[in-house]
C-alpha cells in the first residue's frame, strides 16, 4: 500500500514514516503543500495523510485536489487546529477520516485498517483464539457455538483493539486513549484498564481460560495468536 504523508513537521513526518514502513506500508513524504500538490497530480496512492495546517497551502484546497487527482485514495486528515468547523468541512469534502493531534500511531493504524476493510468489502472478520471466535464486525464472541454475551461494549472495544494489534504489547495509556478518547476529565493517572481486563478474564473463564490475553509485566497487555 502506498501512503503519501503530507506533514510540515519533519520530526512527526519521520515518525509516521518509520511506523508505517515497519507495518509494511510504502511511504513518501512531503513537507509542504506545493510539492504535495505535484505528487498528488502525478502519482497514485492508497492513503493520503494530510496535515491541514500547512504553512504554504490551504489544507482543504489540497484535499480537494487529492480527491480529484486521486479519487481512489483514502484521505485521513491529521490536524492540531482546534476549529470544530474544520472537521465538518474536511469530512464534507470527502475525507475518509479525521484524527486530531496528538493521536496514537496505533489509532492511526487501526483507522487505516478499518478503511481498507471497508474498501475491499471484507465484511466478516472472525478470529479464532483457542476456541473463542471473535467477530469484529458483528461485535460478538462465541466459544465454539456458545455465545459469550456477558462481555460489555467497553470490554469488547478493548479485545478488538488488542486483536487489531495482535502480538504487540499495548500500554495502558494507549488502551485507555482508545476507549476513553472522547471523555474529557481531569484524572491523569487513574485508568481502569486493569479492572476491565480482570473482568474480561473472569467472564471468559466461565468457558475456558483465556491464556491468549497476556499481561506483559510492567508494560501492558497483548493478545498472542498465530492466526
Amino acid at each position: 500500500m502506498n501512503v503519501l504523508i503530507i506533514e510540515d513537521e519533519k520530526a512527526l513526518a519521520h515518525e509516521l514514516e518509520f511506523f508505517l514502513v515497519k507495518n509494511n506500508y510504502i511511504c513518501e513524504i512531503c513537507y509542504d503543500g506545493a510539492s504535495a500538490s505535484e505528487k498528488i497530480a502525478v502519482n497514485l496512492y492508497d492513503f493520503i495523510l494530510l496535515d491541514l495546517g500547512l504553512p504554504d497551502y490551504e489544507g482543504l484546497d489540497l484535499l480537494r485536489e487529492a480527491k480529484k487527482a486521486n479519487p481512489e485514495a483514502a484521505c485521513i486528515i491529521l490536524t492540531a487546529r482546534a476549529e470544530v468547523t474544520d472537521r465538518v468541512k474536511g469530512l464534507d469534502l470527502g475525507a475518509d477520516d479525521y484524527l486530531a493531534k496528538p493521536f496514537s500511531l496505533l489509532e492511526l493504524q487501526s483507522r487505516m485498517q478499518a478503511i481498507t476493510r471497508r474498501k475491499f468489502g471484507i465484511t466478516q472478520t472472525v478470529i479464532d483464539l483457542d476456541g473463542f471466535l471473535v467477530n469484529i464486525t458483528d461485535r460478538t464472541i462465541l466459544y465454539h457455538v456458545n455465545p459469550v454475551n456477558t462481555i460489555t461494549k467497553k470490554e469488547f472495544d478493548l479485545i478488538a483493539y488488542l486483536l487489531l494489534h495482535k502480538n504487540r504489547t499495548l500500554t495502558r495509556a494507549q488502551l485507555s486513549e482508545h476507549i476513553w478518547g472522547s471523555v474529557i476529565n481531569d484524572d491523569y493517572d487513574s485508568n481502569f484498564i486493569d479492572a476491565h481486563i480482570k473482568n474480561i478474564r473472569k467472564k471468559l473463564s466461565v468457558f475456558a481460560p483465556a491464556d491468549w490475553l497476556e499481561t506483559v509485566r510492567g508494560l501492558g497487555y497483548r493478545i498472542k495468536t498465530n492466526v
Binding site: A100, S104, N185, Y188, F192
Partner: protein, 444 residues
Amino acid sequence: MKLQTKLTLFNAISKLVIVTLFILLLPNIIEKINKNYTDNRLVKQKDKFLQKVRDNGIKYYIEDGDTYGSYLPLKEEFISLEIVNYDLDTIRDERRIVERDTIAYRILSHTFKAGKKNYLLEIGKSTETIGETTGPLQNIAFQILLGMILLTILADQIYSNYILRPLSIIIRTKLIGNKFPKVTVYKEVKTSTSDFQHLDMSIHKMVETIETTFQKEREFISNASHELMTPISILQSKIENMFEQDDIADDLKVRLLEMQKILNRLKSITKTLLLISQIENDQFLKEDIISVNDLLQDVYEEISIRLQDRNISLAMLVIDNVELLGVNKFLLFNLLFNLINNAIKYNRPDGEITVTGQWVRNNYTIKITDTGIGIAADELPYIFNRFKKMKQSLSQDSFGLGLPIVKSIAGFHQIGIDVVSEKGVGSTFTLTFPIKLTGNAPIL
C-alpha cells in the same frame, strides 16, 4: 412600554389636562369678561345720559320731588333717577323687584349735582342675559378644543413615529435577538437626528469590538492549540515507536511508559484548557436532542468500572424523563461524567451516589448526591476555579479542571448549578435546566 407609546400618552394626557382646566375656568373667565364689558357699557351709558342731562336740562327728565324710571318691556335693562342727599359711585350686583319680579341686575349707581340738588342715577342690566351666553360658549369651546386635541395627537403620533423610526430600526435590527458573536456588515440607519446617528454608530462600534475580540480569541485558541498539540504529537509518536523497538531493554520500556503517562497528563490538561476556551468562545453547536435517560445511561456505561473499583453503589432515579432539545450531546455527557466521576472520587469506599432527575416546580433538575468527604464552607466559593485543588482532595490524581469544565458547559447551555455540601457527610450538585432546553413542565 415603548418610547413612542409613552410620548403619545404623555402628549395626550397633558393636553387633556390643560384643556379640561381651561374648560373649567371658562365660566369664570367669561363672567369676568362679561362683567368688564357690561361695566364699560354701563359707564358709557351713564356718560351718554349725563351728556343728555346737560344738553336737555334735568327738568326734562325729572320734576322736583319726583322720581324717574324707565325699563324695557322685558326688564333686562332699566334706568332710574331720584334725588338723594348722599354721594355714591359704584357698580355692583343687586336684586331688584320690578313689578313683582325679582331680577338680578348689574347696577351702576352714580350721584351727580344738577342745579342745587343731588341726583342718584342708576343704570341696571340684567345679569341673566349676561350669563346666558356662558353655557353655549363653554360647549362650543369644548368641542372645538377636543377636535383640536385629537388633531394634534394624531399629528404628534405621525411625527413622533417618523422621527423615532430610526430608533426602532436600530432596536429591531441591531439589538433584539442578536447573538454575539456574529458576522455583520455595517448598515447605516438613515436618520437626520444626530442622537440616533451617534447611537447607531456606537452600537456598531461596540459590536465590532466584541466580534474582533471573539475572532482574536478564536485565532488564539486555534494557534495555541496547533503550537501545543504539535510537539506533544511528535513526542507521543516517538515514544510509541521507541516502545516497539525490539532492541530496547524492558527496564527502558518501563521508563518510556512513565514518559508516556506524563505526556498523557500534559495532553489532558492542554486538551481540557482548549476545550474550556472553545466552549467559552461559542465554538460548539447546540443541535442535538437526547433524553435524560439515554444520557445518564451513556455516562453509566463509561463510569461503571470506576464504581466497581471503589465498590460504590449508584442509584439512578429518573422520576421524570425529558427530551433535552438544542443541546450538545458530547458536552452534556462530559458535564455529567465529571460530576458523577467526582462523586466517585471524593466518596468514601462502599459509599453511595444518588442521581435524581425530576421536575421541581417549573424547571427540570438533575441532582447528584454523594456520601463523600464534602467541601468545607470556606472552600465552596472556589471549587469552580481552574487548577484550584481543595485541601482534602490533594491526594487525588487530578489537576483541578473537572469542575471548571462542568461550569463552562453548564454556562454554555444556561444550566444553573447549585452546590450544597457538608464536610464529612457529602455533597449535592443540582443542575437546573432552563425551559428552553426542556419545554414547560407538564401540568399535573
